[in-house]
Amino acid sequence: MSDHTPDVERRLADALDRIASDAHLTAPSTALARHRAGPDLTGADHEARRPWRRRLALAAAVLVLLVGAGVVVLAVRDREPSEPADPIPPSTSSSPFEVGRVPDGFRLVRADEATRPTTFGSDVEATDEAFTLLSPDGAVGPDVLAVSYLDADYLNAINVADRSDQRELIEVDGVPGSWDTGPDWSDLTLRITPDDPYGPSEVWVRVSSSTRRSREELVAIARATPVPDDPRVAPEMDPAPAGWTVVGGADAVLHASTYAHYGASDRDPLGPAGAHVQVFTGPAGARLAIRTMAPDAVDFEVVGRHPWLRPQAPKVTRVGGREIRTFETDCYDEGCTGIAATELPDRRGVVVLAAYGVEVEALRSIVTSVRPVSADRWNELRAELIGGRDLPPDPGEREVARGRFGDLDWMLQTSSDRDLEFDPGEEIAAFGIDRCLKVSDFDRWCVGDLIGVGGGPGETDAVWSLAFASDDRPPRVLGSLVVVPASVAGDATSIRISGPAIDSAPGEPARPAVDLTADLRPTPTGDGRFAVVPAYVGMAACRPPALTEHPWPWARIVLLDEAGRELDCVE
């Protein structure tokens, strides 16, 4: 360590104090009142509850990203075409697909079916709202209303709807709501379900007018809006309120998919159930997500018309001699683009793209290169992500273990990259073991950050961590990797892991009781032994901690010799 350490420590502590002190936080009494109003059970992203802060943060973040990139990627390259398009029947759902043209420097990192329906109505920009569009005559004109559901609780309903920062809190016959107007718009939110401070069943409605319709008119619309079975689906306004006609609707999942801050994540792809998604990453954090949806997923006359979202008409553009009809999102983030387009041959579906760092002209070009493929070809594509169906090691690596979890095969390989300082799995890489398993679900399941990470090489601790592959909260867990330094393992040839069932705790998955043994194998570096076990181990402890005091699970790991005798307990 440097001679400057004491000074560095002081300067570090002082800087942390200043950074923490400058945070603008809710006063404890206000926060307590919020807690009293009910815990947030919705899973809503609270970033969305700070409209301006969120916008600034996103803009700054993306600016950093783009400055780092130096350029906005424009060039695209053609990929080798696959076999001629398979005979694929017209689809009433998403088609598996391949992409013939991707931006230079982009790499496919995920090909999957969507698993994550979005939260709804929690974004200040209304980008995740299912909405139904109304107009006086049923045609799209300057005088329209968007009727949408907002996510659950009072605070969210008020904060998300804070369009002008001067919103007026109102009550309508004892029901809470809010009201806001501008030069050429008006906006109302109103709760439409009974008060439910401790449950997620509260539903609010927002009615947005493009022409500054009166408060009374919007209240009447809100009251005519039914309580939904699924608030991610556009409100069923049947019959339409007096004086209004339904133009059409847009569901939340489709809507959010076109916006990069929802749509361009490579983990748990967002989209309607079964939608096929490919995610590419590019230089300096650039991202591109492509998904196909059912032919009727997008009503192009409606989707761009939400009064909050800089209303726009669908466009017809010629790309490479072909006409495509698009809805192009006007993102609020720098570098963010997204479009939905009708392009798949024979109208087998629509293509929806969301990206950071890819200009919309490039997106249009990419759209025209999307081709539907058979399920077999789709699975080939997915298998390519992990090197093939046989789960071979990556080039330059070698297999160190292989096994099966339930109906999934896995393969563990060496890791040539030992320099993972501060990255999840750094301790494991130090033993020459890859931090990810290749798994026959065409994915790589990687160790999570921290959960149960022990000491490092040369220390007298077991090192162990988890494999997981989701951002679910709590995460999905495939299994655990246990690594024991040679100095601790001694003559041990196997381990026995036992622990009680654990309820789900903050950030932690529930776990059934575990009691299993597993063989220890030598690590590639020869300075330890390891085992891959089909269980969530949690935190190792030789003695059971007071369970109610620990928000994370634990397990007892015992070293066994060849005869099955207990040698030591590790933690």
Partner: protein, 190 residues
């Protein structure tokens, strides 16, 4: 806390309750009031500090508040099963913040490894330190970030840090050392 059957039926059947039952109901009410008062006191006492700790880990004010709100909700839900509420809260905040930071980092990495912070114009050491520390925090994995925050913001011992972060005590020292080394290199860099 739920009341017993006869009381739930209200005044009509209240005459059927025994003196002991009425006493128990009164005790339950008193317990509940006491719990709520204790919870409120914990909330008012720890909210600010916990949010600031979480903020240093997740680097977002709103997310920090959400993490702490969730942790308090968990403490509230398990109040009767927890003995050391403050310690449980601290663990839940720390692990919750690490989770959120980890998720955010994987969703949108913002700091390329070769990114270097600018130094403050005019050689303002305090501002330079702040920039360097902010960059250090951004460069650390969330677990390492939490360890640094608990060490230098909260002043906890290695054992306390290991307990709250959920790692082995042996992990704390090397993590702190490496973080300090990295910061020292930046401080000494011309």
């Amino acid at each position: 806390m739920d009341r017993h059957g006869p009381v739930l039926l209200g005044g009509v059947l209240a005459w059927t309750t025994t003196g002991a039952e009425e006493e128990r109901v009164a005790d339950d009410d008193a317990d509940r009031d006491g719990t709520e008062a204790a919870f409120d006191a914990l909330f008012l006492d720890r909210w600010d500090r916990m949010v600031r700790r979480a903020f240093l880990i997740v680097r977002s004010e709103a997310t920090a508040e959400e993490v702490v709100q969730d942790a308090f909700a968990e403490v509230h839900r398990r109040w009767d099963r927890i003995e050391r509420h403050e310690a449980y809260l601290a663990r839940a905040v720390t692990t919750g913040a690490i989770r959120r930071a980890d998720r955010a980092r994987r969703e949108r990495p913002l700091h390329p490894a070769d990114d270097r912070p600018d130094r403050a114009a005019g050689g303002d050491e305090r501002l330079t330190d702040r920039l360097l520390v902010e960059d250090l925090l951004a460069s650390l994995a969330p677990s390492a970030r939490a360890i640094v925050v608990l060490k230098f913001f909260d002043g906890l011992t290695e054992a306390e840090i290991a307990d709250q972060v959920g790692c082995r005590p042996g992990t704390v020292g090397p993590t702190v050392t490496r973080a300090l080394r990295r910061l020292a290199q930046e401080v000494e860099r011309p």
